[in-house]
């Protein structure tokens, strides 16, 4: 009996590794191509047959990006906006999700429908009235405009996801704390939040990413070159008459690194032993 379990496990492991490798080619193959193009000269990017590494392997595209103060500013702006949005959205969403998950009150269903539906309006039609509103509020070309805008885009997602995560946690948890005389805030921040860390982290990462990668509203709400963000910087390389292909690829690679680092850094919260089994029984 023991032998067959071992063989089964080994077979399962082999199957798993094969599956993982196929998945890796699917997921990372195109990105690898992008990376290889960022080191080529523009000529070689479209040649046939395509090659991964070419003679003119160079860092020129990257150097061009790093030495341009405007481009560096794009990255700084993106960082500032994305971090602020993430922190603020999480704060607001956790509170809202708590109420939606734990309480029952009049208008709850309507509010829920509204929160879900606000993101269902095609942004291209929303653009002009929204822009007019921002100008009217005096927020044109400010960090505040971008931060508030992205908060509004990410709140529905964050609230829905956090409500979902909170819903997987039994209500007896907070009741237990309340018996000791604690209020709702304590129940939320002392009990629910620490257990929901994986959920919070995944919501936070995605929020950061939405703020980091958004283009249309960033372009419309900023005017001066010192307020623009990375996606705008990438599109500026796509001119009417020529594309700077290797720079586009290089800037995309550079643009993806912050989110990747964030993900790699925080991913230990995905594999924590913090939550599994400790609470539910």
């Amino acid at each position: 009996m023991a032998m067959s379990i071992q063989t089964r496990t080994r077979a399962a492991r082999v199957g798993l590794v094969i599956g993982l490798l196929i998945g890796a080619v699917f997921a990372a193959g195109p990105v690898l191509w992008m990376l290889s193009n960022s080191f080529k000269s523009n000529t070689e990017i479209f040649e046939l047959p395509p090659r991964l590494i070419t003679e003119s392997f160079s860092l020129d595209a990257y150097i061009a990006i790093f030495t341009d103060p405007e481009t560096v500013r794009f990255f700084i702006n993106s960082y500032v906006v994305a971090f602020a949005v993430t922190a603020l959205t999480l704060l607001v969403a956790i509170q809202a999700a708590y109420a939606l998950s734990r309480f029952d009150f009049r208008g709850k269903r309507v509010l829920n429908v509204i929160i879900v539906s606000v993101q269902a309006v095609p942004p291209i039609t929303l653009l002009i009235p929204y822009f007019g509103l921002m100008v009217g509020l005096g927020l044109y070309n400010t960090y505040a405009a971008l931060i508030l805008t992205y908060m509004v885009f990410t709140l529905p997602y964050a609230i829905i996801m956090m409500t979902g995560y909170f819903n997987t946690l039994p209500k007896e948890l907070d009741e237990a704390v309340r018996v000791d005389g604690a209020g709702s805030m304590t129940a939320l921040w002392r009990v629910l939040v620490p257990i929901s860390v994986p959920g919070i982290v995944s919501v936070g990462i995605y929020t950061f990413m939405i703020a980091w990668n958004e283009y249309l509203f960033a372009l419309t709400l900023t005017r001066t070159i010192d307020m623009r963000t990375v996606p705008i910087g990438i599109q500026l390389l796509m001119g009417q008459h020529s594309y700077e292909w290797n720079q586009i690829m290089a800037m995309s690679v550079l643009g993806s690194i912050p989110v990747l680092i964030l993900f790699l850094f925080f991913q230990r919260y995905f594999i924590s032993g913090l939550t599994a089994g400790s609470v539910k029984s």
Partner: protein, 433 residues
Amino acid sequence: MTRAGQGHSKALKIAGAAIAAGSLMLVTGCSGGSSDGATGDAGGDVTIEFAQWWEPELPDGEFRALIDKFEAENPGITVELVSGPYASTKEQLFAGAASGTMPDVVGLDGAWVNDFASQGVIANLTDLMADAGYDDSQLASQIQVDGGTYMIPVVNFVYPMFTNDDLLAEAGVTTPPTNRTEFADAAQKVTALGGDVSGWVLPLSLEAPNGVQNDVMSWVWASGGSMLNDGQPDLTNADVTSAVDYIQGLWDDGVIAAGSFTMKEQDKVEEFTNGRVGMMIDSLAHINLIRETNPDLNFSISAIPAEDGYDGERGIPYASWGIGVAENSEHKDAAFKLVSFLMSEDVNSELSTMANAFPGNTQSVPDFVNDDELFKTAFDIYQASYPANEFTGLPVAEELMRLFGEQLQAALDGQQSVDEALQKAQDAWVAEF
């Protein structure tokens, strides 16, 4: 809760609070540049904004240097350059107009003029010219709507035919074709070389449908034909029908490169530059690009082939970088000064040289014309032809191109005949007029 859990939650709380507090400070404290529109300071100093997509496409710093020259000649006027990606320019201008934040001077494409003008977004330049006492005789062209000028083409990018001489020679064609029969013949010979080589390339992407203008209608105009009759659509006439039939013929012969229906201009250039296409109709702006990308490529410029036996003046398609003034600009006079500066003989020559384009000022001559064989040929063709772009100044010009493109794609795909396609396109166009 475990000790570790408590420690974690505390750390998270502190981190969260710090970030939140910091970001709140940023939100309230930070803004960039000047956040309102053109300002007028005391003492008569004026700041105007110029929105364009030109600066990123020109050599670093040269456009700004040109503008600095303007500021030096006009103390009291400061010009702020607002550069944005070309693909988004139209929406941005629109959003700006709708919210009253439109910059004073705007770079325009001829396809937008009619719509912007009829919506009162851009100012009537004829009036401004009259106010400033401007002599417009040196302007090569003015784009007009209802008798008033709304856009002045600053520089023109003409679209002659490019031929890959090596490929043609290999296929046994010694000179670039001059009429349609020769062209079809050359295309077939090149395609017969096999591999991934094609005779011609036709970008028909519906996202940026200027392939209809540059690669399809150009055949009509090259033979002196027209797609309009008295300013109204006339797509079923003999000129257009013969051109589209011809293209259908080329398609059926299999001489057109694959991927047409979603191909954009950049893709076309890449295919040509990599030696996979024998002939293409393309913008002069790409001459240097092709040279830099593939120095070994031997190519030449010639006029777009006309119908066999046609010996009249040929039309050559062009696209411009146009300029206009915003209707709700508070500094129209300063704005127009910038316009006239850019259109002045020397500045226009300089700008044309920078952009590898032909000047919008009849007296200007860009440097490259004298220095460069290919450009000289192109300039000669330009001067021997008449600039032809019937789409400029039409209402919803880009949409017209798209409507035509959809029908053409259906025809090429075999879903309908050329006549049906042209009739449907005609009906669609009439509905927009």
